[in-house]
Amino acid sequence: MKYPVAVSVNGRAYRREVEARTLLVDFLRDHLGLFGTHVGCETSQCGACLVTLDGLTLKACTRLAVQADGAQVTTLEGLLVDGNLHPVQSALLKECALTCGFCASGVVLAAKECLERKPVAGEDEVRRSLEGVFCRCTGYQPIVDAVRSLAAAPVRDLRDGATAEL
């Protein structure tokens, strides 16, 4: 049996029919062709499948597509405006904070949520906010440094280039 799902992803409305067992992450990748959201551990641990759902970061492997009916989803692709990187992405690039890039989908969205909640987050707060995303390359320090480099930035700058849900 299939169920209707109407969802807004990165500001664009989609209507699809899915099986109840379809996970949100598979829906985004296989049904909508949005491959910025990665499939990592599939056990709610690694955070490579992070998206925001109605403004809150979510591991998209831990939600059914049918549960997202009526929701607003933002994926990594949604952070680009006119091809420009989000300030969090720029900061990660500047600090060489991503190596293989597999975890980037999670790191970027987790860091963005951290800074939206605590614009002047200290190191402990940044590390706590990143607990849900695993990076196997960097040892985290460059990621923390990159996020901290934005911690003093005015909130307005973070919102520039960000999606409508902010």
């Binding site: 049996m1 169920y3 099986e19 109840a20 067992r21 996970l23 599939e42 056990t43 709610s44 955070g47 992070l50 759902l53 809150l56 970061t57 979510l58 591991k59 831990t62 939600r63 059914l64 049918v66 549960q67 987790a110 949520e113 951290c114 706590r128 906010s129 607990e131 849900g132």
Partner: protein
């Protein structure tokens, strides 16, 4: 891919109870999904019907009672409890625990009620819910009943919930000022509690007039330290004054033992966390 199942998202309690009565053991109730969906992926549960609460009205609220208590609806998330002024003001202990559960994403979507229904022995909440003497509000075709959390959680992943019953909320009685604290030692990878202790004390005229202490992560289900609660009565609340009575608080129970922590180590952690939780609660007197 998960095995196929039917998905239902009822709009009312009546409709939900009809589905539960019809499908009974074949149905699983979905709130935040942060215990259930991982369990389904592991094949630990294999429901034929998933009953999603998300369209049901009224379950997302934290409602105040006139006497100072709180009713926390089945869809209230850890994050809601962490940031709610009402919850922080009336039950700072519960808000403190909520802010420590899982990671940011678990807190964004996981729920208090879902966590209690999962009854994971390493869950943080039961320690606080026992210390707060919270009640689980359960609906069924026979009406509503309230069950103390202490009796609701019956063992590891076991609750007193009947197949045709639905948890609507958890009621937390009025808290005793801010003289409470939760202290735990986490499993480094999973973040779950190897031992966690919540302590709440009431001080009157410079003496401890009442104390409640809940311990989680150590045995198959959380438990109260009734003997120590009794011994604390009438004592002066001095930091570090109770070391002599906090020796082997978990002894006499079947203590969990696994690759992360032996029974002996968990028992030791229970003592350490009890001493620290009491010290921290006492440090909040007058704050």
């Amino acid at each position: 891919m998960l095995p196929a199942f039917e998905y239902r998202s009822p709009l009312s309690v009546e409709e939900a109870l009809e589905l539960l009565a019809k499908y009974r053991e074949d149905v699983k109730v979905l709130a935040g999904g942060h215990s259930l969906i991982p369990a389904m992926k592991q094949g630990e549960v294999c429901p034929k019907v998933l009953l999603d609460l998300r369209r049901m009205a009224g379950l997302s609220a934290i409602d105040p009672f006139e006497d100072g208590g709180l009713r926390i609806g089945a869809l209230v998330t850890h994050r809601d409890l962490e940031i709610s002024e009402l919850a922080r003001g009336r039950s700072p202990l519960l808000a403190e625990v909520a802010s420590q559960v899982g990671d940011a994403q678990v807190r964004n979507f996981g729920t208090l009620v879902g966590s209690v229904c999962q009854a994971d022995p390493a869950s943080d909440y039961p320690a606080a819910l026992l210390a707060l003497e919270a009640q689980v509000v359960v609906a069924s075709p026979r009406g509503e009943r309230s069950v103390p959390v202490e009796g609701f959680i019956q063992g590891a992943f076991e609750t007193a919930l009947e197949p045709d019953e639905l948890v609507l909320a958890i009621d937390v009685p009025r808290s005793w000022a801010r003289t409470a604290a939760y202290v735990r030692v986490r499993h480094v990878a999973s973040g779950f509690a190897l031992a966690g202790v919540a302590a709440q004390i009431l001080v009157e005229d410079g003496r401890i007039a009442s104390a409640r202490i809940g311990v989680t992560g150590v045995a198959e289900r959380a438990f109260r330290l009734a003997v120590i609660e009794e011994q604390l009565l009438g004592r002066e609340p001095l930091p570090g004054a109770f070391a002599e009575m906090i020796r082997g608080v978990a002894l006499g129970r079947e203590i969990l033992s696994d690759g992360a922590a032996s029974a002996e180590y968990r028992s030791h952690l229970a003592d350490v966390c009890t001493a620290r939780a009491l010290r921290k609660a006492i440090s909040r007197i007058g704050v």
